[in-house]
């Protein structure tokens, strides 16, 4: 007869690689976000509202949009719905503002970086937590709308599929921009509320003055400063819709550049944080 | 001899949460260490002593007076709180000056007093740097300087050594000892027991809001009957020495753990030490070393608190 007491056992197997480590961070992060009532409600509300509004526009196109041809350019309308902008900003501030700021506040960053991952790994994982949540607003409803339209027989599948493809591309572009900028803001402060305020400032603080001023001083070039107007310019070109006061190539360049610059700045900022304090 | 501080049946509750529960102890002159587990009531006692809180029950006297709402009494004490956040943008000199002027000192006097206090704690070199650049050890010393600068009669220090590097520790302990030597009184709390033992033999042990022991460490130790005092003697004839010592009736047990060691447990350490030189000298047995492994504050704490 013998007694075996539990002991602190040694690890026998080798460690799993980078993909597993990042997956652990991403999955844990997403799970935590989806447990939050605020996130669930905003997601559902955002998706539902955008889909409903878009479907209403679809069904009553004749009423709301006299003179609008029922071809690909129609799908610019749901894509340019201001609700999209509002809910993206809301998502970014609800989820994104705390992603890095909380780790800075609690200094849990020390634990992360003392693990066998790099700064880049950490940022990639955080981006991979935020991007899916933002794309639930930026991509999903705009993909559902053409799909529903085709199902209802209002549009041909050819056009619908084209619209879906464009929605994915445009949505991803806008998601990338917001993910990158949100993470940058989140990395600059310990307080997630400041980061959240920053995101609203980037969205509305740039857009509203730009729109007002461009009219009052008649200089449409000011619209380049608004990420929303840049997105609209690119979307307009993609869907073939008429109008627009700024050129889409420049708008595209601005969005891409801002995304890359924000990402680089975030990386530099994270590398500068002192995790071993003396 | 009037005690510096006297507590009689002091109780303080925060709603349901226990602060102090019928706490009765007397803090004598010189340096007294206040020791106890986390949550035992040390901070509560300090806040009562400096007049920030009012007790629910019992009487508390500092220099014979009630600290509550007692501004003249506050002038006679210097307090070092536990937290380490100073006004980061102020230099060490300005920090101490500002607090002195809050006390009512004139600008000129405050300046001289601050300079002197910073010199005593060894911060003269860093006095003109903002406190946010200070290390933990330097912050502790800055706090001590502001507590000393107005020449108080008593220092009340909450964890004055925590986080300090070895040099700062030595400096702080030295400053406290000098203060006591010049006639000041000190009540200081700490978790690092061997540091208390270095500057004083007087302690008050607090647990669950009550004082469970107070006085001289060795006297307290001697009173803990369930744990007889162990003494280890290094000698080449342990068994003969054991025979000689067995004659003392307060000896509880004698062990020979190795061929050159004798381990004695006695209920009356004072009597033991008094008789030991006589026995050793008479029997002429060679005793090479002698020590008492559990006659320390660490042991007292362990036996009384667990």
């Amino acid at each position: 007869m013998s007694i075996s007491l539990p002991t602190y056992t040694r690890r026998e197997m080798p460690l799993l690689g980078r993909r597993h480590r990042l997956r652990a961070i991403i999955v844990t992060g997403l799970r935590r976000e989806f447990k939050r009532p605020a996130v669930i409600v905003s997601t559902l509300l955002g998706v539902a509202l955008i889909v409903i509004i878009s479907t209403a526009i679809l069904l009553f196109a004749g009423l709301f949009l006299p003179g609008q041809a029922l071809d690909l350019s129609f799908f610019f309308v749901p894509a340019s719905n201001q609700t999209v902008l509002f809910f993206i900003t809301l998502m970014a501030s609800l989820v994104g503002s705390a992603l890095i700021a909380d780790d800075l506040n609690s200094m849990a960053l020390t634990l992360y970086l003392s693990r066998p991952i790099t700064h880049a790994d950490y940022l990639v994982a955080k981006a991979a937590i935020l991007a899916p949540l933002i794309s639930l607003i930026a991509v999903l409803p705009l993909v559902l709308t053409p799909f529903v339209a085709a199902l209802l027989g209002l549009f041909s599948w050819t056009i619908a599929l084209q619209a879906i493809g464009l929605a994915v591309l445009l949505g991803s572009l806008f998601t990338a921009f917001y993910t990158s900028v949100t993470l940058l803001l989140s990395s600059l402060t310990h307080r997630k509320s400041y980061a959240a305020a920053g995101i609203f400032a980037v969205t509305f603080g740039l857009t509203i003055p730009a729109e007002i001023l461009s009219i009052s001083i008649s200089n449409p070039a000011l619209l380049y400063a608004s990420p929303w107007e840049d997105y609209l310019a690119v979307a307009r070109a993609a869907f073939g819709a008429p109008g627009g006061q700024i050129d889409w190539p420049w708008a595209l360049v601005i969005l891409l550049a801002a995304t890359l610059v924000a990402a680089s700045l975030t990386y530099l900022r994270m590398k500068a944080v002192e995790v071993v304090a003396g | 001899m009037t005690a510096v501080a006297e507590a009689a049946g002091v109780s303080k509750w925060y709603g349901e949460v226990l602060g102090l529960n019928a706490f009765t102890a007397s803090f004598g002159t010189g340096i007294t260490g206040l020791v106890g587990p986390n949550g035992a009531g040390k901070s509560t006692l300090f806040k009562l002593l400096i007049g920030q809180l009012h007790a629910n029950q019992g009487t508390l006297r500092l220099f014979g007076e009630n600290p509550w709402n007692n501004v003249p009494l506050m002038r006679r004490l210097g307090y070092c709180p536990e937290h380490n956040q100073l006004y980061g943008w102020l230099t060490g000199q300005r920090f101490v000056e500002a607090l002195l002027r809050l006390d009512g000192m004139s600008t000129k006097k405050a300046s001289t007093a601050a300079t002197a206090a910073l010199k005593v704690v060894g911060l003269s070199g860093a006095a003109h740097r903002p406190t946010r650049t200070y290390s933990r050890g330097m912050r502790q010393r800055a706090k001590l300087a502001q507590a000393l600068a107005h020449d108080p009669d008593v220092l009340i220090l909450d964890e004055p050594l925590s986080g300090a590097d070895p040099m700062a520790r030595v400096q702080i302990l030295r400053t406290i000892s000098e203060f006591a030597k010049d006639g000041g009184h000190v009540i200081m709390s700490t978790h690092v027991l061997y540091e208390v033992e270095r500057i004083t033999q007087n302690i008050v042990l607090i647990h669950n809001g009550k004082a469970i022991a107070s006085g001289d460490i060795h006297a307290i130790r001697a009173l803990i009957d369930e744990h007889p005092h162990a003494v280890r003697i290094e000698t080449s004839h342990p068994r003969q020495l054991a025979q000689a010592l067995a004659r003392m009736d307060h000896v509880v047990s004698l062990e020979v753990p190795s061929e050159d060691t004798l381990l004695i447990r006695t209920r009356k350490p004072d009597a033991f030490y008094k008789e030991l030189p006589g026995i050793v000298a008479d029997t002429r047995l060679d005793v090479r070393a002698l020590e008492s492994p559990d006659d320390s504050l660490e042991a007292v704490f362990r036996y009384l608190v667990g």
Partner: protein, 296 residues
């Protein structure tokens, strides 16, 4: 040897296996040294290897290191077991192994049902234990403890130091203990590295560094110390009374003389033994000497 750091900002250190104490005043370079070990910072000149890996590689080194930081670093809204499991997975353990080991190490450090509660509700002692658990979960070869007893009450300190000691004594495990509490370092580490001003000013086996005067005795006398010392001097021995006791040169038969004098004076001898220098004394002396040399 598990680590070798050469010429980094003029810092040259070679670290043997076992439990090593890292000691030094503030600004001595301890923090930089730890950052180097963790591969979070690259040396400006020179090379460094830890556990056979060049620290420039960062990730492979950190796979083998468990770091217990000094400051608060836990995620407040996770449970104890949740955090330790998560950190295990981020270190590369698969999900099942991570949970299993998390529970094992939580048991080892002494966290019972509290492991299911949120960390925000934990006491200081419990938080320190979780910090230790997350450092252990992936079974590293090198542990770095930075002030492990901060904020702990005497009971907590003893428990924590006992845990560190068990880890330090496990075969195949190396421990670097960085602390300002030199007596703690003394009881756990066999080897010490002392830094000051970015340099290593002393390193070696503790016992050798502190061997001090084996040829003197310290006696804790209760009674008239001065008279005691005087009587010793009268018998031709070198003796002096200091605040820590009476110190006398060790000669054959001196012990017997001591007890005779004690009997004659009616004094008590409460301690008699080697005049051991403490790490603290050694350290302070060394640092003073070093600062003096530097300012010359």
């Amino acid at each position: 040897m598990f680590g070798e750091v050469r010429a980094v900002d003029d810092l040259s250190v070679a670290i043997p296996e076992g439990a090593i104490g890292l000691v030094g005043p503030n600004g001595a370079g301890k923090t930089t040294f730890l950052r180097l070990l963790l591969g979070l910072v690259r040396p400006t000149t020179g090379t460094a290897k830890v556990l056979g890996h060049n620290i420039a590689e960062g990730v492979p080194v950190r796979e083998r290191i468990g770091y217990m930081p000094e400051h608060d670093c836990l995620i407040p809204d996770m449970t104890g077991v949740g955090l330790v499991t998560f950190m295990g997975r981020v270190s590369g353990l698969d999900a099942d192994t991570a949970i299993s080991r998390a529970h094992d190490v939580l048991q080892f450090v002494g966290v019972e049902e509290e492991r299911y509660r949120k960390i925000a509700e934990y006491s200081t002692g419990m938080k320190q234990k979780i910090k230790l658990a997350q450092a252990m979960v992936h079974d590293p070869q090198l542990y770095i403890f930075d002030e492990p007893t901060t904020g702990l009450d005497p009971r907590g300190r003893t428990e924590m130091l006992d845990l560190v000691r068990v880890i330090a004594n496990s075969p195949g495990r190396n421990v670097v203990l960085s602390s300002h509490l030199l007596p703690d370092v003394e009881t756990i580490c066999k080897y010490i590295v002392i830094l000051d001003g970015g340099h290593q000013i002393a390193a070696g086996e503790l016992r050798q560094l502190l061997s001090g005067s084996a040829d003197r005795l310290r006696i804790d006398v209760r009674g008239d110390r001065e008279a005691f010392a005087q009587r010793l001097r009268e018998t031709g021995l070198e003796a002096e009374a200091t605040p820590t006791g009476v110190h006398v040169a060790r000669k054959p038969g001196v012990e017997g003389v001591i007890f005779e004098i004690a009997k004659a004076l009616g004094a008590e001898v409460r301690y008699m033994g080697r005049e051991i220098r403490s790490l603290e004394e050694f350290f302070l002396e060394l640092v003073e000497r070093n600062e003096a040399a530097v300012s010359v």
